[in-house]
Symmetry: C2
Subunit: 149 residues, 2 copies
């Protein structure tokens, strides 16, 4: 991932989201919507518009971190499904949505983009970020995510 980490700048729409932690390749942030456990993985890459423009090796590291973060979220929160999406039509910087969903949630079974939103409030948002950070850090210690590429 040598050439990929030199210049990394978040678009404002991503920079304003609450920081959770840094994985080896991705910056992890929280969506400000208390209706859903919803995080973003943002590769610390210069000018990555979408996953087809990453090297295959960087794509593989991204997938390791998607699985890692998705499992941490799924461990923390009741859910029936985990949605994973890379869209980037409105915010043209590669970022991965990872979202716990369940039957009866406000947008179920539809998608959450342009769906219901209730901001956390400052304290609850910091608490959510802290709780998710701990779960991700616990998951990170497992050897399966740390294989060489």
């Amino acid at each position: 991932m040598g050439e990929c980490v030199v210049v990394f700048e978040l678009l404002p729409a991503l920079a304003e989201k609450t920081f959770i932690t840094d994985l080896r390749f991705c910056n992890v942030r929280l969506e400000d919507n208390r209706l859903y456990p919803w995080i973003f993985l943002i590769p610390r890459c210069e000018n990555a518009l979408n996953v087809t423009l990453l090297s295959v090796d960087d794509g593989l590291q991204l997938m390791r971190e998607i699985v890692l973060a998705g499992r941490a979220l799924a461990w923390l929160f009741p859910h029936g499904q985990v949605n994973v999406a890379m869209i980037g039509n409105k915010t043209p910087q590669l970022h991965v949505h990872v979202i716990c969903r369940r039957e009866g949630d406000p947008d179920w079974p539809g998608v959450v983009w342009d769906g219901h939103c209730e901001p956390y409030g400052e304290t609850a948002r910091a608490e959510a970020a802290g709780k998710i950070r701990l779960a991700i850090e616990a998951e990170m210690t497992k050897p399966e995510y740390n294989q060489n590429q």
Copy 2:
């Protein structure tokens, strides 16, 4: 991927879609919507509900095939963005949407789920599937997708 390929059955909502090709891990099918170059990658796994339930190795192979198929689609069709999503709320079997998007398309910049749809018609659908199959098969020959896990 040994234990994962023994029993593979498609849910009806996926089985009815037009077959394009088989990659090493995924079955590839076409969404019947001529408004978008839109394919599905469906891991040939038993009971895979979402990516967090795959082994990390299977997740990595899935990502190789997402990048491969996404690049084939992006090579074929004009686009400004490539959307990649694993949702599965309505069809609870792991399948990856890979979709070419561009400014001015019928749902831009929104998402395509529950968006505009115009079926191909039989001849055009077969033509689209054939064209995508050739592009994927050309992309498959590149060594970067064939590394050992």
